[in-house]
Symmetry: C2
Subunit: 514 residues, 2 copies
Amino acid sequence: MNGAETLVKTLLASGVDVCFANPGTSEMHFVAALDTHPEMRCILCLFEGGATGAADGYFRMTGKVAATLLHLAPGFGNGFANLHNARKAQSGVLNIMGDHASYHLRHESPLKGDTSGISQAVSHWTRVSQDARSVAADGAAAVQAARARGGQIATLILPANTAWEAAVGREVSAAPPALLRPSDAEIDAAARALCQPGAALLVDGAALWGAAGQVAASIAAKTGCRLLAPCLPARIRRGEGAVRFERLAYVVEENVAALAGITHLVLCGTQRPTSFFAYPGKVSLPAPADACVLELCSSDMDYEATLDALAKVLGADPLPPDALQGIDLPNLPHGPMSLDGIGQALAALLPQDAIVVDEAITNSRFLAAPTVSARGHDWLAVTGGAIGFGQPAALGAAVACPDRKVVVLEGDGSGMYTLQALWTMAREGLDVTVVVFSNRGYQILRGELANVGVTEVGRNAVRMFDVVEPSLDWVALAKGHGVAGVRVTDLDQFSDAFAAAMAQKGPMLIEVIC
Amino acid sequence: MNGAETLVKTLLASGVDVCFANPGTSEMHFVAALDTHPEMRCILCLFEGGATGAADGYFRMTGKVAATLLHLAPGFGNGFANLHNARKAQSGVLNIMGDHASYHLRHESPLKGDTSGISQAVSHWTRVSQDARSVAADGAAAVQAARARGGQIATLILPANTAWEAAVGREVSAAPPALLRPSDAEIDAAARALCQPGAALLVDGAALWGAAGQVAASIAAKTGCRLLAPCLPARIRRGEGAVRFERLAYVVEENVAALAGITHLVLCGTQRPTSFFAYPGKVSLPAPADACVLELCSSDMDYEATLDALAKVLGADPLPPDALQGIDLPNLPHGPMSLDGIGQALAALLPQDAIVVDEAITNSRFLAAPTVSARGHDWLAVTGGAIGFGQPAALGAAVACPDRKVVVLEGDGSGMYTLQALWTMAREGLDVTVVVFSNRGYQILRGELANVGVTEVGRNAVRMFDVVEPSLDWVALAKGHGVAGVRVTDLDQFSDAFAAAMAQKGPMLIEVIC
């Protein structure tokens, strides 16, 4: 047995059985080891950003850590942006990064790079295996690290010789350390704060989609406080039967207005609201400067137990039925293309328990509003703001939940970053419908230029914002990756195409000209 | 005037007038400043790997530093792999990486990341501008750093407020420090070594394509030493009129055989030959262990002056005409598809002074051999071994040399990494012909698995190597990006398509089914 085999056995024994991979030479022994362990599901991605984004989407929907297989520092670089998103989503991801044999690293070979340096720029945990006999224990520690504090980025760097040299046995990952909890005094203080006029409770994580959300809602019902959710949640339950949250916005002024009047803000499983960007003359922190902010419980603490304790102290009753979202499915819209109309069609047609991955950027707000009235669904946002998240995360979510329909709402600018994920959807027969909003450019940047105070847009800027001359042809791009596509130019066409996509299994792309 | 404007003025005053860009919000003031400076040519790339690879190709063909515009740590991550290649090619690249306003960085906003950390993992020089009034001087220092030591990766991190706050003036980059040279004693020792039986001179950099190559060849002619070139040069002149070099190989055993018998190896502008990867039981350093290796002059020293000094000490005469490559253009091949045949067709049809970007991986060796008999051309290799280089580098080379035809030889696996560069070729009307070798997979990995001692390939491995089910359709992918494409399945079709591509201007893609 060699180091790579002990690692695969360790991963499997520790419950990691999916690997999103883009291997190279330094990972060949790991690949060979996978061959003798067919219970590890290997999914090839044609670009590492697809692998890391998939692992993020997979964790968001299962709470399970998937492995990625990345080739040296450049391969890790290709996966960096989606690891950034995963980090912000508090997704547990285990990266196996191959490196040169340790004795080869003293020579300046072409692919030698700073594997530790780039890993440490985004990973919570980085370790370089020192010899083959350490690999199993290192792998178990990496799994533990990926599971710790609610979910972390753990990167195990595997010099090629530690994979191919002899080793024995396997390890089983230990449970991560127990999550920290606030003290009783802090719980009591938060309970008192929430009973004040103008109080609000901001929650995140599983409280946005799991049972903890109903506890949070019961606290709001008991105290009369407002119940808030962040702008870009890793996952939030929406539509029929969902807890009602007031979700923060992207635009600074909207958040300032939404948070005005808050006197006490209790944070549970999250951090204080922060503007996405700073702009001249606008605030970084949109909550009122004189609000009392209680950082009760950060995202890496046990916020579910904290909510339970808070509900107990407050004597909050189980949630009244009217605290959950009721719906009235809209009719199908007709006529010329509009984003509101698309949102209405989505609300009418999204199947029960759909998973919606939202990277529609400037279009999102128009789509999010009507779909509150859809059947119950989960909504995954670009937590870290790094574009190129949508299609890979959908890939991972579809692997995680093969019986649920996955819908990606994708900007054309953002979609181009990691379009290679389409191929993996085709190969694996994943049940994903990709809706691309072809507004032919980075429309958000037009708004951002105005936000920073520039009102006149010249030729250089226009050519940086507009993706025209030529226009992208997303139907051809889909075909190139082996995915069927259709272009729609009015609402009737969209509804027909989307309904057909919902009625079939497997990948499909709809290009919306808007 | 604000910091961003002083930076644009500084770049222009310092001779940097091309910017490969993929901007975001934090770079909006820089974009606004570009609007008032149309003499800066801005080229939009739909993925940052396109921007960094283009800057590399541009430097290789002009020796001029281009700027890239990258959006925070994730954007830099997307450009990392091609910065790795540029670093190994000793290309000077100036990255402008936007960051959050410095006062915003103490808050945990979604896109906050370790901008310095990821930069330092690949850049030679990293600086964070501290205030708007420092930006011009920082920009000038960054240009100087990018030009120093023959070419470096320099990254200037620009917090958004340093771009928008008031500043005055501009700076002009100072010349970089003079390059180091070896001592006279070292030159004399190298000269003596080269006169020994079994001596060889290994050169790199401009010696492979410029006048210094003829000096190197004159030294070889005078001393009888062998004249060697690395396996993956940043740029090498080939075909008619080129200096004859023995180029090292990728395969360890071939290099061991090629270097056998060498007693004295003089390195000038390069480092000692190193195996691309380590493998069990194979050497990291393929030169004979008992060879005397003289590290006369590293790549960041003045190797051109060193070669001149060496020639003078040796009394080497100007190069005899027969030291340069003569050619006999082959006939066009006919019949079933073969890589040798494609190489023959390329040799027959490549126009004078074509620029060939080689990322054909397993196919390269078959294409390189016949094209020694082509018209004079430059050949650019993947110096750092990080795939996704070909199309972006071709884009940059075409911007650098608008009057020369650029041909990319691209693997289908590697081509998928940065296919978005096709769109920029279409938008800018760049004269690039992309030849994609559709062997439907990562064929190199099959060889690498055998190299590490695995002879049986199971299902998990096969599914990691083969890009089939579905097959990619490169003609559709090209169309999706606005580039015309054609698929060819025999040599006659290839010759017809390639001849047509050579006869026209603008981008074209040829998918070779092989």
